[in-house]
Symmetry: C2
DNA sequence: AGAGATAATGAAACCGATTTCATCGACAAT
DNA sequence: ATTGTCGATGAAATCGGTTTCATTATCTCT
């Protein structure tokens, strides 16, 4: 006794239309090579049966997966999810699915093992890596599908990259502070090994050097609200209190402002603060944040486009640098003379 | 001339181990039915060849996809991405992949068509819907895989659900305001048709009724910072200005606070504000927000678990209601007598 | 009219695993 | 000694499409 409402197969459509399964397949994937008459007949049969293709079967034959994997350090962070939205948009237009994996999910030891299983040509046709802290060896084996790095990058790992112009962004931020008269500028960084922190530090150094100033002191944070908050204690305990702080992202900047406020230090009157990223919230906090805007959704789209291009013709280590822009709001002001 | 480094197939492993492909398959998926000796030989051969299974082939034979699709209204919204993180965690433990689709991506007309293509048994083994604004007809056809609704829900759509206790949360929030002496309480809602807004409105009504008060006036927002900001004008133009506002989420609450601040209305001295969700930012804004905490990652995990259970034995319309909790911070205070 | 090119189509091989079914040998029970 | 049971294994069918290759019909050109 067989299921009376089994979903139809290509064979069923073929029989109804009076053609072979091969012809039905052709109508579905390359209609131009089928005669007008049969095409119409097949389309009618598809309609009547309510046939939908079985993608697994197609993918098996075509040696593909129909999906791209995005590796995100922290799914719960809006910064990354907006990039994801951009990736998703581009992939969807190509009929590809977006697979998402949070790289921080399992404990550090198990993380590699678990990831390895996903970095396989049978899991995804390509990978977009948003986590610069992963080990390059994860991606350097035959079974790993093509990789594109976006936003952050992994030292020594080859392949295309899409990055924001972090160095210029940091330089613009610091130049802005210098123009306002600030000289004692602190840099609140992400984790020292993070590729973003490194290139932003270069931008900071560039601006200070050009002004003939010594390198900026640093406090290391973790890109989180909490770490920005914690850093406020460090800022205040410095022998020479800085008059301005450049933060490697907006969340730390907001956390820092909260910490300073609790210590009765006002922004921007007592300390000017600049962030990076221009997250939506930055415009709505009590002192709207001066920051560096980067277009996250656009970055995601470009990354997806690169991956698609890279699959067709494996390109060399092309690197796209997307422009950034300083957004001046209320958290920075001219240094008070006293 | 064939590729000298073609990835090994199960056949290659079998030959090296001196057994049949069937036996290799058994070692990989059900080792207990293979003798100790052969199992060791096969495992050694797998090791030597670096064999990794082709999931597409397995999935075709096993009539599954190995992936679950999450339908999110807005990927860029941290509220949803934290639920996603929970879903991802549970799925990963089961070896399943997480597919993500942003339902707001395409224009409204095309949205249905585009979605339909993804709501197919050959795309995913199951679907977790986080968007209550979708039409139930999308899910009510034979080709659609099992559906679990999480967080929001779709009117009239059957199947398991995981929800936060929205009504109780709203009631607790309003009871808190009532206890502080507030009587003119406004409800800043999400879109009127949204299922969350509806059940939270019920909680608001419940609390007011119990206190013998008339229903609260409402302003409709869109769960966004911007809509909260905009709502401030509406709040201030009311003939009788409210002394407290209950907002359907934290982002609107924060947006509202920003708007009120710009109009020189202080929180909580002039107006008390309560939010919902307890997003991380709420603790760091200049006036830390009183809000209703719901455990988003946990909600995601439960949804994934339900889906897995539901696949095995299609359960009736079970509904899980997760507890919520009032978090009192600084944005609410006792009504000033004057 | 005949040769050659072209278009449309179907039969069958193929993608790479899993799973059914049959076989074989070892061992226990009668 | 014979039969039955059980465990381990391999041959072959299977999942549901796509694609190659061969065949036939149609058309063009000399």
């Amino acid at each position: 006794m067989k299921d009376p409402v089994a979903t139809p197969r290509i064979h069923d459509v073929a029989r109804l239309a009076g053609v072979s399964p091969a012809t039905v397949s052709r109508v579905l994937s390359n209609p131009s090579i089928v005669s007008e008459r049969t095409r119409a007949a097949v389309e009618k049969a598809v309609e009547e049966t309510g046939y939908t293709i079985n993608l697994t079967a197609r993918n098996l034959r075509q040696q593909q997966v129909g999906a791209v994997l995005a590796l995100v350090p922290n799914l719960a962070n809006p910064f990354f999810s907006e990039i994801l939205a951009g990736i998703s948009e581009t992939l969807r237009a190509e009929g590809l699915s977006l697979l998402v994996l949070d790289t921080r999910q399992t404990d550090p030891g198990a993380a590699g093992r678990g990831l390895q299983a996903y970095l396989n040509r049978s899991r995804a046709d390509g990978v977009i890596v948003l986590d610069g802290s992963l080990d390059r060896s994860l991606f350097e084996h035959a079974a790993c599908p093509p990789v594109v790095q976006a936003c952050e990058w992994i030292d020594g790992l080859h392949g295309p990259r899409v990055l924001a112009d972090n160095q210029t962004g940091a330089r613009l931020a610091v130049e802005h502070l210098l123009a306002l008269g600030h000289r004692r500028i602190l840099h609140l960084t992400g984790p020292a090994s993070n590729s973003l922190s490194v290139s932003r530090a270069a931008g900071v150094a560039e601006a200070l050097e050009a002004a003939g100033l010594p390198p900026a002191p640093r406090i290391e944070g973790a890109f989180s609200l909490g770490s920005g908050h914690t850093a406020s204690a460090g800022v205040l305990s410095l022998p020479e209190r800085p008059t301005a702080v450049f933060c490697d992202n907006d969340e730390m900047a907001i956390g820092l402002m909260a910490g300073l406020r609790a210590a009765k230090i006002r922004t921007p009157e007592d300390i000017s603060i600049v962030g990076f990223d221009n997250i939506e919230m930055s415009a709505y906090v009590s002192v709207p944040l001066t920051t560096v805007r980067q277009k996250r959704a656009h970055l995601g789209r470009r990354a997806a486009e690169m991956l698609l291009a890279h699959r067709e013709t494996p390109s060399p280590d092309t690197e796209i640098i997307l422009p950034v822009e300083l957004v001046i709001r209320d958290s920075t002001t001219a240094l008070r003379k006293d």
